[in-house]
């Protein structure tokens, strides 16, 4: 049995939600490629990206599912909340309507994810301060009332983008440390790569089902 160092200790699954055109895909692209993607096409259904980060000197792989904001894809994107450890809920600070829809996104997020899912509110496009339509204070208050983490970001300049993804990961990691997130439970959205011998890892996992037993 090999006990060498692993590439990463955990996999966290994220989902990015929010209205069409708020810059979800651009945020993801900025985070994974460190580049701004101008003329980003509409997302069809879902797409996903990954990046390995470090939290508390643990390597963590983020698997980020970027959903389409268009209403017609709602039925498809809803299926991807399942098993997300973090949900990034994005609105556009220059378009009030995208802020007004947050409560419906939040309801979806709360209903379709597990109770420990960390929800992070992101006000995107903060580089366009002149066209601001939603104040920082207002959004901050909304976040506090609903127990969300909050930051204003810019996918264009990259401001705060790292922080949003990292803070979410830190919070999830903290939840694991506190024991409020049960790693052994399926669909917690966190997958642990054991650094300890496998026997302890398997302790809480059911014996493997035989293939097709439930068919």
């Amino acid at each position: 049995m090999a006990a060498g160092p692993y590439n990463y200790s955990y996999i966290f699954k994220y989902i990015i939600i929010g209205d069409m055109g708020v810059g979800k895909s651009c945020l993801l692209h900025q985070f994974t490629e460190k580049k701004f993607m101008a003329d980003c096409p509409h997302t069809i259904g879902v797409e996903f990206g990954t990046r390995i980060i470090e939290v508390a000197s643990q390597k963590i792989k983020l698997q980020i599912w970027d959903t389409a904001g268009q209403e017609r894809f709602r039925a498809v994107t809803r299926s991807y909340y399942r098993g997300a450890a973090g949900a990034l809920m994005v609105y556009d600070i220059t378009r009030r309507s995208t802020y007004n829809h947050l409560s419906s996104w939040l309801t979806d997020a709360r209903n379709l994810t597990n109770p420990n899912t960390v929800i992070f509110l992101i006000g995107n496009k903060c580089d366009l301060d002149a066209q601001r339509d939603v104040t920082y204070e207002e959004a901050k208050q909304f976040a506090e009332e609903n127990g969300l983490m909050f930051l204003e970001c810019s996918a264009k300049t990259g401001e705060n983008v790292e922080d949003a993804f990292l803070d979410t990961a830190k919070k999830i990691y903290q939840n694991i440390q506190d024991g409020s997130l049960d790693l052994n439970a399926a669909e917690s959205g966190v997958q642990h790569k054991p650094a300890t011998p496998r026997i302890t890892m398997n302790a809480g996992v059911q014996p493997p089902n035989k293939e097709g037993c439930a068919c």
């Binding site: 060498g4 994810t113 399926a186 890892m201 097709g212």
Partner: protein, 638 residues
């Protein structure tokens, strides 16, 4: 002696007399300056204490005695010195002898050691040569032989565990093996062959060990997230040289992952998340779209994750893409059956064409989405394609059965000749089905193809149904009814894309029915005013029949009374409009039909007018028979 001749000085001349010369010399003598004299006098004063005759007489002998004594002293003193010098001499003599002896001995020794020295030098040279040889040999060994610890790490421990050193040693073996080829090009062929052979043996046993280890490791990756250790990645990289072994190891990996994915899928279906949130997918089985959508999303995410694991396992392998796709196909194959069974159940029990069509679109979308992750040969993709095909067929089956039901019990047209309920319901269904497309993401070509098929599946039977239900009606009723039905279809379809050809066809049909209506209306009016006979005769008239007025029923009187009746119609044109015209739903169709029938009437009148005024037809008082010019009629009617 000077005081011996003092009397002689006065008697002899001063210059020639030796005495005087002596005297003068004495007198000239300056005692102060003569140190010897002073010394002598001092010494004399030490023993010449008493100046008397005796002592003056004895002075000489005293002095001589003293001189003798002094010389004797001197002699004895020198005697000692001489003896000592003699001693020194003898010593030096001895030393010289010694030295000579030593020189001789050295010479002898030198002569004796000369041979030894030359021997030593040659030995020394030899030793240097040997040292160089040793270095070369060492370098050769370094290059072409394994070190003991390398051999040890190649052989490994008894429990089969692998150390990172193993790969270093393995690459050394490989390097040596390939270096032997250079060796073979030189004249060290025997050594080259031998080393090559031993390295080949090492290599074989090492690969075998590596394979066993990798296989074991791969068997263990059954947990939700496999731990792809760097060591395993390295093992895969190393196994690339043995494609068969690599394939078998990957097969093991695939097998382990496959069962893990199946387990995960069943868990997601039946157990859900911690504390039941998110709820198990099967809890939504009453909602076919959600149920199937959740399963597909799960499969999509799972195949993406599995692909990542495979990629990280094979990250150091070059050109392993084929194997990666193959394994991914294998891994995702396990879930095909549980997935297929469930979706088939949903599809078979679903009756609603709208839901079926939505499912069809959903499956099409995921076929495309999952197709971006797994390759086309993957069982998962073909399963999704199969199910999608089934859903497609189920959808059209349900549409067709709906259409068949329509044809089975044809409704009679209502008295207002409007569309029947079944028609409006079917069109609503069509609207719902076509609306599904907005929520789907299938390529535009597929959409066009689908639309075509859907339209022919719905519109054709509907047209058939309308014709059947209209079959027992009068011509006018039927035309009006058909115009109404087609109009409704037309306005439904006009909202959607890709319906142009359909619309064209429907318009042509409307046109045909409107033609019927127009001609019916015109002939109705002509019949009612009595001009029909005249008009009919004009259409078939040939000159050999003689003047028109001579034909039966077309005499001046009859024509005149008909024209009179026509005149009263002109006063009240609406009175003779067919009731069916009012029942036409589309105002534009209604208007155009009315207009065209009016034009037809005007034309008919014009022909009658010209014929009556033509003297060859024998109407004597033509202008009285037809008081109005065609222009007046047009003016009145239009």
């Amino acid at each position: 002696m000077a005081d011996k001749e003092p009397g002689d000085v006065a008697s002899a001349p001063a210059s020639n007399n030796p005495l005087s010369r002596k005297l003068s010399k004495i007198l000239e003598t300056r005692l102060d300056n003569d140190k010897d004299m002073l010394e002598a006098l001092k010494a004399l004063s030490s023993f010449f204490v008493e100046n008397n005759l005796r002592s003056r007489r004895n002075l000489r002998s005293d002095i001589e005695k003293r001189s003798l004594a002094i010389n004797e002293d001197f002699l004895t003193a020198f005697q000692v010195v001489k003896e000592q010098l003699d001693d020194v001499y003898s010593d030096v003599q001895a030393m010289n002898e010694c030295c000579l002896d030593m020189t001789n001995r050295l010479k002898a020794a030198k002569a004796k050691t000369h041979h030894l020295i030359s021997q030593t030098t040659s030995l020394h040279n030899e030793s240097q040569k040997l040292q160089v040889k040793e270095q070369v040999a060492q370098a050769f060994l370094d290059k072409f032989q394994l070190k003991p610890d390398e051999i040890k790490s190649l052989r490994g421990t008894r429990d089969g565990a692998l150390q990172p050193d193993f790969f270093k040693a393995l690459s050394r073996v490989k390097q040596i093996h390939s270096d032997c080829k250079f060796l073979l090009r030189t004249n060290h062929q025997t050594a080259g062959l031998e080393i090559m052979e031993s390295m080949a043996l090492h290599q074989e046993s090492a690969y075998e060990r590596l394979y066993r280890w990798a296989q074991n490791q791969c068997r263990l990756v059954t947990q939700d997230t496999p731990d792809v250790s760097p060591l395993l990645c390295q093992a895969m990289e190393a196994l690339q040289d043995r494609p068969v072994l690599l394939k078998y190891s990957l097969d093991e990996f695939g097998k382990a992952r496959r069962s893990s994915v199946v387990r995960g899928f069943i868990d997601a279906l039946t157990r859900g998340g911690p504390g039941g949130t998110p709820r198990p997918i099967e809890l939504h089985s009453h909602d076919p779209l959600r149920y199937v959508g959740d399963m597909l999303a799960w499969l999509h995410q799972a195949s993406a994750s599995e692909k990542e694991y495979l990629q990280s396992l094979l990250k150091s392998c070059t050109a392993a893409n084929v194997q990666l796709d193959e394994q991914l196909g294998h891994i995702t194959q396990g879930v095909c059956t549980p997935f297929k069974v469930r979706v088939e159940q949903v599809l078979v029990s679903e009756q609603d064409p709208v839901t079926l069509y939505r499912l069809d679109n959903l499956l099409k979308f995921y076929h495309h989405t999952i197709g971006q992750i797994v390759n086309t040969e993957a069982a998962l993709l073909s399963t999704v394609a199969e199910i999608q095909d089934l859903s497609h067929r189920m959808f059209f089956n349900s549409l067709t059965s709906h259409a068949n039901k329509l044809l089975d019990k044809v409704e009679l047209p209502p008295s207002d000749l409007g569309p029947t309920d079944s028609l409006t319901q079917s069109l609503q269904l069509l609207r719902d089905v076509l609306a599904c497309h907005d929520a789907s993401v299938v390529p535009i070509d597929d959409k066009k193809q689908d639309y075509k098929q859907i339209l022919s599946c719905v519109i054709d039977p509907l047209l058939q149904m309308c014709s059947m239900s209209a079959s027992r009606l009068t011509t006018v009723d039927m035309a009006a009814y058909m115009v109404n039905c087609i109009h409704l279809m037309n306005s439904t379809l006009a909202l959607y894309e890709f319906t142009d050809t359909r619309l064209e066809m429907l318009n042509a049909q409307t046109e045909a029915h409107v033609d019927t209506l127009v001609s019916e209306q015109a002939s109705y009016i002509l019949n009612r005013v009595g001009l029909a006979q005249m008009y009919g005769a004009l259409q078939t008239y040939k000159t050999e029949q003689g003047p028109l007025s001579s034909l039966p029923g077309l005499d001046e009187l009859a024509v005149k009374s008909a024209v009179n009746k026509f005149d009263s119609y002109l006063a009240q044109p609406d009175s003779l409009t067919l009731p069916q015209f009012h029942l036409i739903l589309s105002s534009s169709v209604r208007e155009s039909a009315t207009k065209r029938s009016t034009e037809l009437i005007c034309q008919a009148y014009k022909q009658v007018y010209i014929a009556v005024l033509d003297p060859t037809h024998g109407y004597k008082d033509g202008p009285a028979v037809v008081p109005r010019t065609p222009e007046q009629v047009v003016h009145l009617l239009c």
